[in-house]
């Protein structure tokens, strides 16, 4: 039994991060986290990226986590630093992303006295973290931090927050490297894994029997569908899903966060379902007699009105989180566990079949996409140009709104996990900072951050971070002069009263120049390929603004509260008059 080293709390923080394989930290210093920043230069294995706003640190850590499949780390000081992390943590929580937030806190003897820059960050973040803790003593720091990291990354991933008072960062304690083997007696809870002890009643018992039951349902179904979500990406169950699809001939639907979990050019791929899903995709759901859902939560943007969702279908639901089963839709067979293991078991258990007649039926419902956009700089053309410029090694990060739907529907993703977006929380301002995280996780990929003019202006200050740190993200701004998706809702459901949706933008080319990066404005299709190719070839950060039609809409659209059978497919009659 060796004696541990005597280190400060701040040094222990750094050591445990290195133990966990962390190489990149996104953060912003301040009073209560200064001991940590003092220790940081002695740990060159930890690259620190100074962001321009703590929200960006949380989004960048999230983007890094999603792209790498490993822990993303952000650091902030107490008070305003900590509160600025909140949106990023909520985003990571909704999309099950393993993010660790370390926050400084006022010294222990000042807590609860409304000290300068004191805030109850644990209280603030309780409902948006998977786990959080206050470190009361440097002696417990290493174990508590290891436990938090384990909780963030195990089971269904999620954000965790560790609040460290400034005097605990300075306090010296014995540090011993992590012992191999299982963690301490507390274990990782809160991961949605079945509870032990008396709670075993909630655990589905005979998993093998359930897999057989699921396989029998698939064999008996006439119109089966495979719906895959983010869980397939988190579990890296791509090959298993593909085997299951190819063995059965089931058409595959990918949810917004499931996009790129199944190759878009595969003949079995149908598209995205839900509020902006293509009509034939939603129609397939409404006509299906069996839905095999893997790693998705049947979110309301996917189901529309759940009472009218897939009225003919029985549902097999594969998910690692037992509390997702039956939450939004009734489930016939529940398979709780790792998507990769269970999908492999299901693929092995199913009898080979083909669903050719059913697929032909769905193909008959496909509509030819008409000329939906006035002007020639259509979203289709822009997405196609980016796809051509990006080639095989390209990851797309989108923001929230119309451009997000256009890219989701139009970009043909071939490689797994190359589409990263804020799905559950729908956080505008996500793309620019998240793309920094994606780029550092995937230095050999072209990383495009695609935003609207609204979302871009929420976090465009991060261009400075990209320049200072040399993070060559390609920034694309779809500029229509409106908060486009809100404007679309106003057009459809609020009598075209464009209240607070027209939005002014600065001159983005000059903005780029002010940051010392190349910037281009694309006004028409003729300029498109050349500019996008130049942006694609650039070695540093670049900005491309696309001036698109002001009142372009995303079609089709299921009105909020309606069922998947009630799509709006074209401009409403009220808008046709002018």
């Amino acid at each position: 039994m060796s004696v541990g080293e005597l280190l400060s709390g701040a040094e222990i923080l750094c050591r445990v991060l290195l133990e966990a394989g962390v190489d990149t930290i996104w953060g912003y210093p301040g009073g209560a986290i200064m001991p940590f920043y003092h220790a940081l230069p002695e740990h060159p294995g930890l690259r620190h990226v100074l962001v321009r706003h703590e929200q960006a640190a949380a989004h960048a850590a999230d983007g890094y986590a999603r792209a790498s499949g490993r822990l993303g780390v952000c650091v902030a000081t107490s008070g305003p630093g900590a509160t600025n992390l909140v949106t990023g943590l909520a985003t990571a929580h909704m999309d099950s992303s393993p993010v660790l937030a370390i926050t400084g806190q006022v010294p222990r003897h000042m807590m609860g006295r409304d000290a300068f820059q004191e805030t109850d960050v644990l209280g603030l973040t309780l409902p948006i973290t998977k786990h959080s803790c206050l470190i009361r003593d440097a002696a417990e720091l290493a174990d508590r931090l290891r436990e938090a990291i384990a909780i963030a990354t195990e089971g269904r991933p999620g954000p965790v927050l560790v609040d460290v008072p400034k005097d605990v960062q300075n306090q010296r304690a014995e540090y011993r490297p992590a012992p191999p083997g299982p963690r301490g007696p507390r274990g990782a809870r809160g991961d949605g894994a079945p509870a032990r002890g008396p709670a075993a009643g909630a655990v589905p018992g005979d998993l093998a029997g359930r897999v057989r039951a699921a396989a029998e349902l698939i064999a008996a179904a006439r119109r089966p569908l495979l719906m895959v979500g983010h869980g397939v990406i988190v579990a890296r169950a791509y090959d298993e899903v593909r085997q299951l699809a190819e063995k059965t001939g089931m058409p595959v639907i990918t949810t917004l966060l499931g996009i790129s979990a199944f190759p878009e050019c595969h003949p079995l791929h149908l598209g995205m379902p839900g509020m902006h899903g293509e009509v034939h995709v939603n129609r397939a759901i409404q006509h299906a007699d069996l839905i095999v859902g893997i790693g998705l939560r049947f979110d309301d943007r996917v189901t529309g009105n759940p009472k009218g969702f897939a009225p003919r279908a029985r549902i097999i639901h594969v998910d690692i989180d037992a509390s997702e089963i039956g939450k939004n839709v009734p489930v016939a067979v529940a398979l709780v566990g790792d998507a990769r293991t269970l999908t492999a078991a299901l693929a092995a258990a199913v009898a080979p079949r083909d669903c050719a007649a059913w697929r032909a039926e769905i193909r008959g419902w496909e509509r030819r996409r008409g000329a939906r956009y006035r002007g020639d700089l259509s979203p289709e053309a822009i997405v196609a140009a980016i796809e051509r410029a990006g080639g095989e090694r390209c990851t797309i990060v989108t923001d929230v709104g119309q451009h997000q739907m256009w890219v989701a529907k139009l970009y043909r993703y071939r490689r797994p996990n190359t589409h990263i977006t804020s799905g559950g929380l729908g956080t505008m301002g996500f793309a620019v900072p998240a793309a920094m995280g994606v780029k550092l996780a995937r230095p050999h990929d072209d990383v495009w951050a695609i935003s609207g003019d609204g979302g871009f202006q929420m976090n465009m200050q991060e261009i400075a971070t990209m320049v200072q740190e040399g993070i060559p993200v390609k920034l694309a701004v779809f500029n229509n002069g409106y908060l486009g998706m809100v404007r679309q809702w106003q057009e459809f459901f609020h009598e075209r009263r464009y209240s607070a949706t027209p939005i002014w933008s600065p001159d983005y080319v000059k903005l780029a120049a002010a940051y010392g990066i190349p910037g281009w404005r694309v006004r028409c299709a003729d300029e498109l390929d050349e500019v996008v190719a130049r942006a694609g070839a650039a070695s540093g950060p670049v900005l491309v603004e696309f001036l698109i039609e002001q009142e372009a809409n995303v079609f089709p659209m299921i009105p909020p509260g309606a069922t998947l059978s009630e799509a709006i497919e074209a401009e409403p009659a009220a808008a046709a008059g002018d």
């Binding site: 809160g190 949605g192 509870a195 709670a199 009643g201 655990v203 018992g205 989180d321 037992a322």
Partner: protein, 168 residues
């Protein structure tokens, strides 16, 4: 009477806050809450009586399983378990009405645990409805102060076996 939810969690306020947060954000109708030491060392046992349907209680239990710091969560229809609460009532009792007061206590099998001139503290343990009836009976004397623990409950053996059966 509702659904009883029994949650065993780490004995720390943060874990308790998280568990309460699960109840709060779901906007559930809560009839009663009780917290005390659990049979597991270092743990609390939280008993919640929910006025809700079976499916909501099931979902709440599953969500409780996910809460960081929660060790176990079970549920059962409260009427299928043994449910009790304890009340302490400080009552004004004048010497003239003392015999009448003792009669009421006797009827409910309540115990006088403290006496002072013109007042007494009386204790009663029992099902919630009994406690309520007792409090009503004492109102005529004048209740000075009242505290109730909230309901604690255990499933009867038959109900416990059903709860342990695989879900769905």
């Amino acid at each position: 009477m509702g659904q009883a939810l029994a949650v065993v969690l780490d004995r720390e306020l943060l874990a308790l806050s998280r568990a309460m947060g699960e109840l709060r954000r779901r906007n559930l109708a809560i009839t009663s809450l009780a917290v005390g030491p659990a049979d597991v060392p270092g743990c609390l046992r939280l008993t919640v009586i929910l006025d809700t349907d079976d499916a909501t209680a099931e979902m709440t239990m599953k969500k409780m399983h996910k809460v960081s710091g929660v060790r176990a969560a079970t549920r059962f229809p409260a009427e299928e378990g043994v449910a009790r609460e304890l009340a302490l009532v400080k009552v004004r009792v004048t010497p003239e009405r003392y015999a009448e007061f003792l009669d009421v206590c006797d009827t409910f099998k309540a115990t006088v645990v403290d006496e002072a001139p013109d007042q007494a503290i009386v204790q009663l343990a029992g099902p919630g409805a009994l406690v309520l009836a007792f409090v009503r009976a004492l109102e005529g004397f004048g209740i000075l102060e009242l505290t109730r623990t909230g309901t604690v409950a255990l499933p009867r053996t038959a109900a416990a076996e059903r709860a342990a059966a695989p879900a769905s």
